[in-house]
Symmetry: C2
Subunit: 443 residues, 2 copies
């Protein structure tokens, strides 16, 4: 067989079920699919490949999976920080969204996020926002892989002034994008149990099930939400949603901070998926999700950055580092959330959570060739005793030199291939300037 | 006056007492000293300067101050992680130190750390280790600014087999380096109250006071240390040390995790300085230092990375991010540890803590020209509403493009000027390989 491309001369962190790390490994790709992953057996010229990429002793690994993001919100990156949640939302984020979230801002914000993801090693993201068709088109343009969901909320939303039309809009989005591209999987995203009625939640979930797509929702993010749910519904957010039939194997539950042992049991029994967003939860002071307990129960837990208004970047390396360290200090136990587990969360577990576990998340024959190379020829990655340790505790997104999705190079030697990053940044800066001029509160 | 150099076309984050940020600012330098910091008043060619550096719209700010580090330990970066503290120390770090800490390893580890610091915007560090003369020589070679301290411990230590000679060795180090270079300030570092006897502590502190140098010590890092102190001394670590006259304005207390309200009062009353190492404290599960309470009491709190065996990098941008987020989530309050405060900790407050507050830590006329430029022409730093937000929540060390210490360029346009980084990495890798081969426990 003639291969399209091989990648060699690196530590291949396969993230296969044994978490095998192959020193001096070779990965062979044909038609966008991984054909083999092996320790180098012969001279590189004897591998029959159209292109041979030298990883120069770095790390070759699956592309990272950002399992919870709101791509267009990068346009609000750092608009307001360090504020009480209500003030942050009501005085900054909601007014800015109402005024500035239009198809073109969504498009530019999404492209900006894609540029950031490509340049920091994320090859797949799971997004939920409004004007999602514009998000999907932007993502599609960049060559990244994504699960995209049109948001559903019982308030007038950007692009959907009448909440009664939210579900129909979301369904139309799924129908449009289903089977359109192997890289783009549509989904439905209900904002939360406190912003969607019982009826909306049930209808949206029913629609997702009948369309055969993942259902995403923010659940139990803050103590305020938990308390409100107890008052209004007499049940916690998880119990309330479980009662409505929302919590099952096709549901992606983001945040899940305020959940107790019993609720973890529910999530585990129903095989629902969790996305942990430690940096957002820390920055907004939402709380600390009981992730070690969830993993103990066999729940698939992916990692997400959340939107850039509350993080403020899309760097999954930073997210890995925070996820590991936060739980160690919180549990007073340095052994929890060890490096290999964290790398799995950012790859295969995230892939499973968003419904793509069979096709991405590890370097194994038959899987999609979503691959990144980490350049370890840097002082902060020298020496290297354990590749997974560097990935979690020492590296950052800027160490990613090469990015492939379905075998196609999106970045080579630090230079994005297709995307005109300068143009995107220029447009994002113009939008940022307009936002700044419109908000007297920004000083 | 003809200036040696001006830096222009950037947001100057002065970190002066008003935390003034000057858009389109210009900084003028002569003889290594900042001469002026102003909003641009005229065509750049009309500033009479030998060299004019265009910051290209980025951030111009004081070089970062890493107020607690053990530079040679970068050679053990990622040697072992995710282990119980005792196992980590006894099975990995102590054996590795005993076998491999020799002058040449100390030299290469220090140069490696200096390379990492230069490339991530740290212009000053405060170090404590053994073979400190080799550390100091290495730092001196790179052009960085540092406070260096020879370690004192009541055990056989690298280079000082007989503990009885520890204080004399430390004193000799101070005498050798005092007044030798304006960039290098010697100091004395007692490891901790549990590894140094009462007599050692008192003698070392007396020596530091009579030599007029800062006294550094790890205090109340772990609960184990706190409990042991209560059992052995009938007092907490802070009370015990205060009783010995150790806690005063010339003392740098690192970690200070297990301190209560009363002990914070002692530290504040005695005007001792604190160095907060959030990432080390998180990774080793040591605990969460009551930093907001200390700052409330007017204590100078700097930021430190600790050694690379417990972090695992020297990136103060990551440390800033973690410091902000950790305390927000721990206090359930997103308003604590706001971005401006965090930037101060990484600059002027760290400078004050290590005794250099009058000469570095802010961009003000008369201060040393220790300056870095952050390149914000990147997707993850676009758009920019508030420079300090990006510094804390979005940037990382790899965004630093230019570094100056006392007006001298140590990095220009991402390329270190003096240091042969490739050669240092090559040597560090060889040492790493030897360490790996000598430790059967490393798999």
């Amino acid at each position: 067989m003639k291969f399209d491309r091989i990648i060699y001369n690196g530590f291949v962190v396969t993230v296969n079920p044994d978490f095998q790390i192959i020193e001096n490994g070779v990965v062979g790709i044909k038609d966008g699919i991984i054909q083999f992953v092996e320790a180098r057996k012969k001279d590189i010229t004897l591998y029959d490949a159209g292109d041979a990429i030298d990883a120069q002793g770095g790390i070759i690994m699956p592309g990272l999976v950002n399992a919870h993001a709101h791509l267009p919100m990068s346009i609000f990156r750092g608009l307001a920080d360090d504020l009480p949640l209500a003030q942050w939302l009501n005085e900054y984020i909601f007014p800015a969204e109402q005024k500035h979230i239009l198809p073109e801002t969504v498009r530019i914000g999404s492209l900006l996020s894609c540029a950031e993801m490509i340049m920091s090693g994320t090859t797949t993201c799971c997004d939920g926002y409004f004007y999602e068709d514009d998000v999907a088109n932007a993502v599609f343009e960049t060559g990244l892989r994504a699960v995209c969901a049109q948001g559903v909320i019982d308030f007038p939303a950007p692009g959907v002034a009448d909440p009664a039309k939210n579900i129909a809009t979301a369904v139309a989005f799924v129908e449009k994008w289903k089977n359109r591209s192997s890289l783009l999987t549509p989904s439905i995203f209900c904002h939360s149990p406190y912003t969607c009625s019982e009826e909306t939640l049930k209808q949206a979930k029913k629609a997702a099930d009948s369309l055969g797509v993942r259902f995403q929702i923010h659940v139990a993010e803050t103590q305020f939400e938990f308390n409100q749910s107890m008052e209004t519904n007499g049940k916690s957010p998880v119990e309330y949603l479980d009662n409505l039939g929302i919590i099952n194997e096709n549901t992606i539950v983001s945040h899940a901070v305020w959940v107790n042992e019993k609720e973890i049991e529910i999530i585990a029994d129903q095989k629902a998926k969790i996305v942990h967003c430690p940096e957002s939860n820390m920055k907004l002071a939402s709380g600390i999700a009981p992730i070690p307990e969830m993993i103990e129960k066999g729940i698939s837990v992916g990692l997400g950055t959340d939107g850039c208004a509350s993080n403020n970047n899309l760097d999954l390396f930073a997210e890995m580092d925070s996820a590991a360290k936060l739980h160690k200090v919180f549990k007073s136990d340095p052994t929890v959330m060890a490096a290999k587990l964290i790398v799995k969360m950012a790859t295969i577990e995230g892939a499973k959570a968003i419904g793509l576990g069979d096709s991405i998340g590890s370097l194994e024959p038959g899987k999609q060739a979503d691959i990144i190379i980490i350049d370890t020829n840097k002082p902060h990655l020298t020496p290297m005793y354990h590749p997974e340790s560097h990935l979690v505790y020492a590296a950052n997104g800027a160490d990613v030199s090469d990015v492939f999705v379905a075998g196609r190079a999106l970045m080579r030697n630090y230079v994005p291939v297709y995307l005109d990053v300068k143009d995107v940044m220029h447009k994002a800066k113009s939008i940022g300037l307009a936002i700044k001029q419109n908000h007297a509160t920004i000083t």
